[in-house]
């Protein structure tokens, strides 16, 4: 006879047997953990899910069930799926930002190249160089003029 019942057995008002499936994962010092899981999944379903798993996987399963239950209680409509949607959106936003900066870098890189070419003969008449700027392929095959 266990002197301390696990949170599950306390909640369910029953004896906590020595081989209680819940006791390792729902300790008595965290009653909310089982309360949440029971509210969303039901004690019977949780017990079955844990029973169907090898022992070394049950702790992770209990943790993930608690997380899901917690999310569902906070957001009864979307639960964890709401977080997944937010993360997808975040990924999309960051990818767009990266693409935008990369485009900007590519543009600046091209500008820098074209400006470098104008500096090859710094002592020439500026008007002469301004005319040269309007020509393509003056110095380099890779030059691209963005004017």
């Amino acid at each position: 006879m266990a002197s301390t019942r696990c949170a599950a057995c306390k909640y369910l008002r029953r004896r906590c047997p020595s081989d209680c499936i819940f006791s390792l994962y729902f300790p008595s010092n965290n009653p909310q953990r089982f309360a949440y899981v029971h509210k969303i999944f039901g004690a019977s379903n949780v017990g079955k899910m844990l029973q169907d798993l090898p022992v070394h996987r049950r702790a992770d399963a209990a943790d993930s069930l608690y997380y899901e239950a917690h999310c569902r209680i906070k957001d009864p409509v979307y639960g964890c799926v709401g977080i997944i949607n937010i993360l997808h959106q975040e990924i999309h936003n960051v990818q767009c930002q990266i693409a935008k900066i990369q485009a900007e870098i590519a543009f600046l890189g091209t500008h820098a190249q074209s400006d470098q070419q104008l500096q090859i003969a710094p002592n020439l008449d500026p008007n002469f160089l301004a005319e040269q700027k309007g020509l393509s392929n003056s110095f380099d095959d890779s030059s691209t003029w963005f004017f």
Binding site: L24, Y25, F26, P27, N30, K39, I40, F41, G42, N45, M49, D52, L53, H56, R57, A59, D60, A61, A62, D63, S64, L65, Y66, Y67, E68, H70, C71, R72, P76, V77, Y78, G79, C80, V81, G82, I83, I84, I86, L87, E90, I91, V94, Q95, Q97, I98, K100, I101, Q102, E104, I105, F107, L108, H111, A112, D115, L118, Q119, P126, L129, A130
Partner: protein
């Protein structure tokens, strides 16, 4: 001649599964059509019909369809991955976000380098030709905020897809 289905509507998938009469006003009927029996079967297996019914009754009618779809998604994820369910997907996505944010920081740093280089070229151009026709290179649009609002309920990064972490319960802090 006497038929158990004296109602014009066929029973919804839930009532078919539960082998009961599908009464008018059945809470499940709008969301579990008879053509999708697997949807209810999955949801029932993970959450239980009674819990789903309570949950649907607690939310507004116009939100119930979304709720059922998200429950179906979670149930499906849990059946495919009995250990992590859809929390595994959250963990993967969170890692992806962190990775992308690092990439964003690095890309931003590259931009700063170019902006600095561009400024020195412009200064040289100004000194040589007395002309500054361009709009300041990369000055605009560089105000990026990689730390946009992230939900507080971030899951701990202890979850790996093939993790054998054996942490026990009691530490499910969020």
């Amino acid at each position: 001649m006497a038929s158990s289905s004296s109602y014009s509507n066929p029973p919804c998938a839930a009532c078919k599964f539960l082998r009961r009469k599908c009464l008018p006003g059945c809470i499940f009927a709008p969301y579990f059509p008879p053509e999708e029996p697997q949807k209810f079967a999955n949801v029932h297996k993970i959450f239980g019909a009674s819990n789903v019914s309570k949950l649907l009754n607690e939310i507004l009618p116009h939100q119930r369809e979304d709720a059922v779809n998200s429950l179906a998604y979670e149930a499906d994820a849990r059946l495919k991955d009995p250990v992590y369910g859809c929390v595994g997907a959250i963990s993967v996505l969170q890692r992806q976000v962190l990775h992308l944010q690092k990439e964003l920081d690095a890309t931003n740093a590259d931009l700063m380098r170019y902006t600095g280089s561009e400024t020195s070229y412009l200064n040289q151009m100004t000194a040589q030709f007395g002309r500054m026709g361009r709009g300041g290179g990369g000055g605009g649009g560089a105000s990026f905020n990689p730390n946009s609002g992230f939900p507080a309920a971030t899951y701990s990064s202890q979850w790996n897809n093939d993790s054998n972490s054996s942490e026990h319960g009691g530490n499910g802090s969020m």
